[in-house]
């Protein structure tokens, strides 16, 4: 007997269903739990799946700095750049450059050492600086595309040539969702340009794995933000809706009296999907209610109406979603593309994110979530150590920095190096594909086994590339 039949036998229906769920969740009733109900969902593509091997991280929060913050002004300290300021780069520049650059430009910011590990961080990120003992820096990331669109797609989907599923979609496909009332992949304030939804799309994977968007870089009105489209309709009272759904279910039964043959599976699944949708209506909006958090938490994230308010909210929302079991949460911040005006703009942008990011890391740690949450910070590329104009830097996909925390990576650690000026990745190079392979590995997924058959062959996030950087594993 499945859940639906059970409910019908009890003479209950949609209204009662929500009620019984609330009771179950409040611990008043030892009846079937939400997890049991998932087992009865016919063909639920978001059902939680076991990883290939024991996972170090259960979920990911990816803080994406759209535009490309300069690594040599943030987390990749280059004393040689100061020494050789104003001199030409002593080796060849890449064949393809986005814009022409001149001589070496020293960082306008001071660097200092933080923590036990003594990692160098510039004065753009003092709050993050104080967290370095929880962080692994990878200073040898490199990609291949020098324009934003291509580089964003490469970073998010592994391909700047073909239409491929996003990393989050692959992870959703690989692991399913921990919470069936929420989407498994959510992207907060994504850009609609530079590849737009393709960066968060499912391509040939089942569409359920594409990201749900909350807000966009263009418009971020709270009232338009919904965790799931069509979650509510204020013109339809919940009681009326319960009546409607019971009525629709009964009509279906009248038309198709049991027993049902296997050919009816699609129709049965559809009836069940209404049950799930009904439950989502009540559960999903709660997660969005940031203001229910304590004063001290809001303060930690810099939610105080000042410059840190907006990204602070994004970070706090990311934590709430992640905590509720959303597998992959991306939170984007823009727009770090300082071809000119580097000093002023990077300063403004860093101020907006530094405290919220440190707040998020601290909060995850305090709540004991950091162990199972992989926090990732990075962008589509870094910037050139050579100057564009006298106060700007061009795109640089040949070397840039990512950092990670929690989720099974070492604390207070650094991996890889770029050259003495930060133009090219030189030591322990980590390509974007390697980064993907490593992230999947931390989640217990073998990037060579996580495949999907489409158009006659098996596809992977890492295509035919990628090797796991196990040196950073704790």
């Amino acid at each position: 007997m499945n859940r639906r039949q059970l409910l019908h036998r009890c003479g209950a229906g949609f209204g009662a269903l929500a009620l019984s769920d609330m009771i179950a969740r409040s611990g008043l009733c030892a009846g079937e739990s939400a997890a049991d109900a998932r087992g009865t969902m016919a063909s639920n593509p978001l059902a939680s799946r076991a990883p290939h091997f024991p996972a170090r991280a259960k979920r990911v929060i990816f803080l994406f700095m759209h535009g490309g913050p300069s690594h040599v002004d943030t987390f990749d300290y280059k004393p040689e750049l100061i020494k050789h300021h104003g001199q030409p780069l002593p080796f060849e520049k890449p064949r393809i450059q986005f814009a022409q650059t001149g001589n070496l430009l020293r960082s306008p910011w001071k660097f200092r050492r933080y923590g036990q590990c003594g990692a160098w961080v510039s004065d753009l990120f003092p709050h993050v600086g104080r967290c370095v003992d929880d962080i692994t820096f990878i200073r040898s990331i490199h990609g291949s595309n020098e324009a934003h669109g291509g580089a964003l797609l490469k970073m998010h989907t592994g391909s700047d040539t073909f239409v491929r599923p996003s990393m989050g979609a692959w992870i959703s496909y690989g692991l399913g969702s921990e919470n069936e009332s929420l989407p498994s992949f959510i992207t907060i304030s994504p850009t609609l340009g530079h590849g737009g939804v393709r960066n968060f799309g499912s391509a040939f994977l089942p569409p359920i794995h594409q990201a749900t968007r909350i807000g966009s870089a263009k418009k971020r009105k709270a009232e338009e933000d919904s965790i799931v489209p069509n979650l509510t309709n204020p013109d339809i009272p919940a009681e009326l809706q319960a009546l409607q759904l019971n009525f629709a279910t009964d009509l279906d039964q009248l038309k198709r009296p049991a027993p049902h043959s296997m050919a009816d599976a699609d129709l049965d699944a559809r009836i069940e999907s209404f049950e799930l949708a009904f439950r989502m209506q009540t559960e999903a909006p709660e997660v969005l209610e940031i203001d229910s958090e304590s004063e001290s938490t809001l303060k930690l994230y810099g939610i105080d109406g000042g410059p840190t308010d907006s990204f602070g909210r994004q970070c706090l929302l990311a934590r709430r979603l992640s905590e509720s079991g959303v597998r992959f949460v991306q939170s984007s911040h823009a727009y770090w593309d300082q071809h000119s005006d580097l000093k002023e703009q990077h300063g403004t942008l860093a101020e907006q994110v530094d405290r919220p990011i440190a707040g998020l890391l601290t909060d995850l740690k305090q709540r004991g979530l950091l162990d199972e949450t992989l926090l990732i910070w990075g962008a589509e590329f870094g910037r050139t150590p050579t100057a564009q104009g006298d106060n700007g830097r061009d795109h640089n996909p040949h070397a840039f920095t990512y950092w990670m925390a929690g989720g099974g990576v070492k604390a207070g650690f650094s991996h890889g190096e770029s050259d003495e000026f930060g133009f090219y990745s030189t030591k322990d190079k980590v390509h974007v594909h390697d980064l993907h392979a490593t992230i999947l590995h931390l989640l217990g997924l073998d990037h060579e086994r996580l495949t999907y058959r489409y158009g006659g062959r098996d596809f992977r996030l890492t295509d035919v590339e990628g090797s796991v950087v196990d040196q950073i594993f704790a």
Binding site: G149, D428, G456
Partner: protein
Amino acid sequence: MCLRLITCLIIFPLVTSSIVLSDDKETTSGIDFFESRIRPILVEHCLECHSGDSKILRGGLRLDSRQESLKGGDSGPAVVPGKPDDSLVISAMKYDGLEMPPKGKLPDEVIADFEMWIRDGATDPRTESRPAKLRPVDWNAAKQHWAFQPLADPTPPHIAGYEQHSNPIDRFVMQRLVAEGFSPAPKADKRTLIRRATYDLIGLPPTIEEVRSFLTDDSENSFEKVVDRLLASPHYGERWGRYWLDLVRYANTNGADENHGLPNAWRYRDWVVRMLNRDLPMNDFIVHQLAGDLLPTPPDESSAGDLLTATGMLVIGPKMLAEQDKDKMIIDIVDEQIDTVSRTMLGLTVGCARCHDHKFDPVSTRDYYALAGIFYSTQSMADRAFVSKWMERPLPSMDIDMRRKAHQPLIDQARAEFERLKSELKDENAEPVRKQKEALEKLEKEMPQFEMVMSVLDAQPKNLPVHIRGNHLAPGPEPVPRAMPSILTEVHAAPSIETLRSGRLELANWLVSPDHPLTTRVLINRVWMWHFGKPLMRSPSNFGLQSELPSHPELLDWLARELIRRKWSLKEMHKLILLSDTWQMSSRASGTDEERDPDNRLLRRQNRRRLEAEPVRDSLLFAGGELDLTQGNIAPNTEAKRRAIYLPIDRSALYEMFSTFDYVETANHIEQRPATTVPQQALFIMNSSLVYQQSANMAAIIVEETSSESPEGQRRMIKMAFERLYSRLPTDAEVVRSEQFLSDADQQLSRIADPVARKHQAFAGLCRSLMAGNEFLFVD
């Protein structure tokens, strides 16, 4: 890191000693040297990617035997004994061009060892050469592949006891059913048939009048009349055109990196709709899209314009407009065109052979670049600007041309006057000069403009060399002559391509020649899929070696030949199929048969089908009486009430309703839309403003038509709602349950004081419930 450190420590003293002993040939050329200095490095740093055991062999290079090292990979010999400077292994280790190993340069001492080893003859005792893991495609066997064989010419079988089946389709289907001990499902009832046929051919539900008129028509050919009416409907092209648009990745914005609008893409879409409505023979339909611009220009403007518009198919794909490596941008566009055309027309994934010979199919990189040459010799981009612009061409118009010619003298005059004033007054800012400048600019703006279409142009023809590993910076030694895939030309000869032509027209004509083994099979298999929900051959865009046999191979070939016999008329094929008993069977499942044939491969019954995003949306607006049936051009936004095919498709921000109902991929060829069942769809039906609005509209229409307050009046309303949404009347039990809902809802809504408003609300709730029903979303 630790390992590398240890290696350095061990090697360093050895290196020192080897320098001392470097005169001793025995030491540097001998096996000992190889074993102690070379092999460990190869094992640790190279063989993971360069051996027969590698999961993926990089650069085609194996370094696991002497023979393989000498042979080398894509870039040439890795080791040239005696010549370290010519050995790629050395330059790669020095990070000179190639950079190996990729994770970091090895110590100079190690490189010096390798140089010494090679200079002294590259002694290498490893002779065993294990075969690589993946076996190469057997081209001889591939020639026997079913889909590459010429079309058979089967005679429809005669089945004892089924002589009444005059339609050949039924005889092929019956043959397998009888052989496997099944009997066909009974014919569907008339209401089911007209609903099925109407959605099938025009993507809309039948009107109540159309249903009633069909039910009362007792003539023998009553259904044929329905089919003829639907095929003549201008909405036919809107339904079947949409299928084609899926194959050729139609959209109204670029997507990719820069999501520029494609303001003229809709003209191509309208061309597809118009040509299908006109029943343009499918061979011409294909040729026009690939090479319409190369056909002789027809005398009338609109036909000439159509031929240009058709080639928009090649241009509407997503492009990396801001890719700064413009050579890469161009070759990526060529690749995108090859992928779309080969999967759509040939049912082959030729795109797989861009970087390496196809792993499963007999398509080599030479084949790929032979085809790529054709598209490379075709200009799809107008420029190579920082953010590049795709090709558009003016639609021929004598009228606009004449108006332009008439307008030009006005501009010339104004400009002359401007120049005169400027030189006379010697001050650009003087009042008369400024005024004249404004007048000139106004006139220039008023110049009548041609309408533009996305189209292509033959460029300077050029043969491309194989790009090693798909890298445009690593061209192979010689250009590959432009040609069609060789395995297919062995089955079905292709014309050679003249030096001065791109070869697009030759490709198009070759595709549609009646003896081509793939084009008609691929096409008719799709047509079957669009009529039955499932194709005869289950991978409709991959007829390669991995494809399985069709469920009914003879039927597939017979249909392919029939298409040619009927002069490539799609409408005749539709009629043939819809008038078959096979198509008209009930979709009802029968218990034990389902277990023996769970996918209904044998066509025991018709398949029940979930409506796609477009008919779902159109049906909702239709039910609410708001569907705007205007044809052509583009709707301003997704809120418009036009049919879904006219809504703008933004690749970077797809209309939520479309993606919720599985129309997701706007940048790639879609061979078949998935039909998922996800709670987001349920939420759309429960809460979306579209459903809310249309249910309210529908309630208003019905309440207005049935003014009576009596119970009979209410029952009449219930019947109307069922008929409007399900094309049938409710059963007594359904009426009773509906009445109960209305009374429950009335109570629930007691806060609404006005009884009319309350009744209206309750009835809208009833309509929404019916819209939520499976019967609304599925076609039996």
